[in-house]
Symmetry: C2
Subunit: 142 residues, 2 copies
């Protein structure tokens, strides 16, 4: 399975696993991802630069990195961890690591504005992070 599809499937799986009340049952995967992660330039304009971030949005961002971790586990069989901190103001940082190796890490400012312009951009970002994670792990562990 290619990295892009694996990432996207894992992310959708993570989101749907949290759908306790079946709210998203009738939504396609594509619509689900778009609703959560895609904001057009126009939509972004309507979000203030400085604002609080809610827990739901923090969780949505976390899911992306959890999907990277899980997808990495599926490929390599090596267990990963995700640690993320996020302030009320949307400042934060996330790190994904396996054993002693940092696979991926990212800092956030304005995390309440975190989004991708198109669904393709989200998928490409996931693919890139997942491939990079494997390269990093191999670099130190082989």
């Amino acid at each position: 399975m290619d990295a892009k599809k694996l990432f996207t499937d894992t992310l959708v799986g993570q989101i749907r696993a949290l759908d306790q009340f079946g709210t998203w049952v009738n939504k396609s995967n594509e619509d689900l991802l778009k609703e959560k992660y895609v904001k057009t330039k126009e939509e972004l304009k309507n979000i203030p630069i400085i604002a609080d971030i809610d827990e739901m949005q923090t969780q949505d961002i976390r899911l992306i990195y959890q999907a990277i971790a899980l997808a990495f586990e599926k490929i390599t069989g090596v267990m990963c961890s995700v640690v993320m901190e996020m302030s009320h103001e949307g400042f934060g940082r996330v790190v994904v690591f396996a054993e002693d190796i940092v696979l991926c890490e990212k800092g956030f400012k304005d995390a309440h504005r975190f989004s991708f312009r198109t669904l393709e951009k989200l998928e490409e970002e996931g693919e890139k992070l997942l491939i990079k994670a494997q390269e990093k792990y191999k670099k130190y562990k082989n």
Copy 2:
């Protein structure tokens, strides 16, 4: 400077840097560390097993790992990062990393009970973590 002293000095420096209102000016370093991190068995008995953790306590735990990070930087000149997440219930995780290498990581349960029985135990723990951090870094980076 030996690792134990470096860790302790760095930790005290971190704590005092946060003392905006001069509350701790007249406290010795030893008393300060004891007040924050040392609880006897008797004292621990009076803390409920299940309870909320406040931000101050979360911050105090974080300072230990920040002190590891800073002390590591002082020794090696390599920049470190600390990412920590902590739930209201005192479940959490912290990771200290430099470049792609995880120097130290720890999970928490009952973090509101986090403490050492004696000041020496705290200092030994810091020393151990700091030495281990250098070993880990060297293992992958040399």
